[in-house]
């Protein structure tokens, strides 16, 4: 495999893990976070610093970094899971930009705007691919569990959900922390793949990008969100030769999909054995009719 292809795929898989987290948050639970990339930054910086400065083994550093992000997520989650949708976006936006500013300012620790360098480059395509598959599988399992059902229920009708005994704030918090953990882990992989991180890549634009990927593929479909992450994060890399046109192509593609299919590429269709069977069963029928 050429180095270019391997590089593109690795970055796509790293993005995919974060997007799986955004799917849990936005797709399943209906919460919009514009500060999600800040958790990626926390994962990347914390794991990088723990290895560089504290000389911890990389897996230990990653686990600690994810736990740190979850702890921060718990604090920011306290208001987030109690707020109305539009306020959630505002609070997370403020939080995300604050983290980015903090990383810029704490020069002695983080290297400021010039970034944190000298992180050992130990992560490659293999580990990111396996991680992405595991992340998507965990989210798929979560969706079919009692948590996934409760998320979908409260997304549409929080009052009726409460009336069925669902502790809405608790379920939202669990979904939020799962998405934080996934995003932070993708940050860990990013740090040890790039060997260098700087604050500029973790602003609200990145968070918004992930939300767009989820909507593009299908906000109610994990399969769709996965495809969205692949297409939209891979495309700009593939089209690198086209310079600025790649953003035009990206924007046009997103607009076309959301205009003609507001529920996204796949709507709420999921790749499950039963749905595949149904797909083939349906395809056969028109052929049968044709013969009559």
């Amino acid at each position: 495999m050429s180095a270019l292809v391997s590089n593109v795929l690795t970055q796509v898989f790293i993005t995919l893990i974060a997007v799986a987290g955004v799917y849990v948050l936005t797709g399943l639970t209906g919460m919009f976070s514009l500060g999600q990339a800040a958790f990626m930054a926390i994962g990347a910086y914390a794991s990088g610093l723990l290895v560089k400065n504290a000389h911890l083994p990389i897996p230990v550093a990653m686990v600690l970094a994810v736990l740190m992000a979850v702890a921060v997520g718990y604090l920011i989650g306290y208001p987030v899971v109690r707020l109305r949708r539009d306020y959630i976006s505002l609070v997370t936006l403020g939080f995300g930009e604050a983290i980015a500013a903090l990383l810029n300012r704490m020069t002695s620790l983080t290297g400021g705007a010039s970034g944190l360098t000298g992180i050992p480059r130990t992560v490659g395509l293999g580990i990111t691919a396996v991680s992405a598959v595991v992340a998507v599988a965990l989210v798929a399992s979560f969706k079919c569990s009692k948590y996934g059902r409760q998320c979908i229920a409260l997304r549409g009708d929080p009052l009726a959900a409460q009336a069925m005994g669902i502790n809405v704030t608790r379920v939202k918090m669990i979904a939020f922390l799962l998405s934080v953990a996934l995003t932070a882990y993708s940050g860990c992989l990013y740090a040890f793949y790039m060997s260098y991180v700087d604050p500029s890549g973790f602003g609200w634009k990145k968070s918004a990008d992930w939300v767009i990927m989820v909507f593009f593929g299908g906000v109610n479909s994990l399969t769709g969100s996965t495809i969205g992450a692949f297409v939209l994060s891979g495309l700009p890399q593939v089209l690198r030769g086209l310079q600025n046109y790649r953003y035009v192509i990206y924007a046009v593609l997103v607009l076309i999909i959301l205009n003609f299919k507001p529920s996204g590429l796949l709507g709420e269709w999921e790749l499950t054995p039963r749905n595949i069977k149904r797909l083939f069963a349906r395809k056969k029928k028109p052929a049968d009719k044709g013969e009559v």
């Binding site: 399992s141 979560f142 009692k146 059902r149 009052l159 009726a160 799962l178």
Partner: protein, 254 residues
């Protein structure tokens, strides 16, 4: 002490006194009808009892426990089930999943089980699906498990909503106009259904209903509400002959 005791509750919205001094006692196996013209405050009574918002004055006891200021989901877990005047099934979920949602808060597996198919999760999911089957069968919807509620008729959706309320394992069941939008055949079926589940599961029922033939035929006691006040309480026989009721409610129908 009665299973459900509502003592002198009040609730207003701005200047609108939606409930003024409402009291009721209900026991297992009983059906209490609540009737009254539009805007009389009937739904507000349910919302206050079930904890959507707390009563401004007065108290509510369920099975001896003071639930007046408790959060809605906690009241449900103590044994209160309800349906809504405008059907509120969860979109994006099948009939079975809708009913499962009322089991999920009782389901005993942790976040680990939420991510991995642990034996415990499988066991609990199986228990839930069996209960789903039981309650969907009780309302005659066992053949529609995999359907989406939005593809079902109004009457069927109402039944699914009742099954979902049954899944809360209620001691008291609140039914808010379950016959609204149903045709006469469906109303007759629903009347039979309510009587049957009341016998089968032995909970107390509070029933808000505009269709008098339904409410009069199965209620043990009837409360008549008007402008937030209770204007009559008694057996169906008694309230039908109460002059105030005839004027405020029955008279209006003619």
């Amino acid at each position: 002490m009665a299973l459900l005791e509502v003592k002198h509750i009040y609730k207003s919205f701005g200047g609108v006194k939606a409930i003024q001094d409402f009291s009721i006692e209900a026991n297992a196996g009983e059906i209490h009808g609540i009737i009254g013209p539009n805007g009389a405050g009937k739904t507000t009574i349910f919302n206050t009892i079930s904890g959507v918002y707390p009563a401004e004055q007065g108290q509510v006891f369920l099975d001896g426990k003071d639930i007046t200021k408790l959060e809605q989901y906690k009241i449900t877990r103590l044994g209160m089930g309800r349906t809504f005047q405008n059907i509120r099934l969860f979109s994006g979920l099948t009939v079975e999943e809708n009913v499962m949602c009322a089991f999920d808060p009782q389901s005993r597996y942790s976040v680990v089980g939420g991510l991995l198919p642990t034996p415990n999760r499988r066991k609990e999911e199986k228990r839930g699906r069996e209960l789903c089957a039981k309650y969907l069968e009780a309302v005659g919807m066992q053949d529609y498990i995999q359907e989406r509620p939005e593809n079902l008729s109004y009457g069927m959706q109402r039944r699914v909503e009742i099954a979902r309320a049954l899944m809360c394992e209620p001691k008291i069941l609140l039914l808010d106009e379950p016959a609204a939008g149903l045709n006469p055949t469906e109303v007759a079926e629903l009347t039979e259904l309510i009587g049957r589940i009341s016998q089968q599961f032995g909970f107390g029922i509070l029933l808000i209903e505009h269709r008098l033939e339904l409410v009069m035929s199965i209620s043990h006691m009837i409360h008549v509400q008007n402008f937030g006040q209770t204007i009559a309480v008694g057996t169906p026989e008694q309230v039908q002959h109460d002059p105030q009721v005839i004027e405020a409610y029955l008279g209006k129908e003619e």
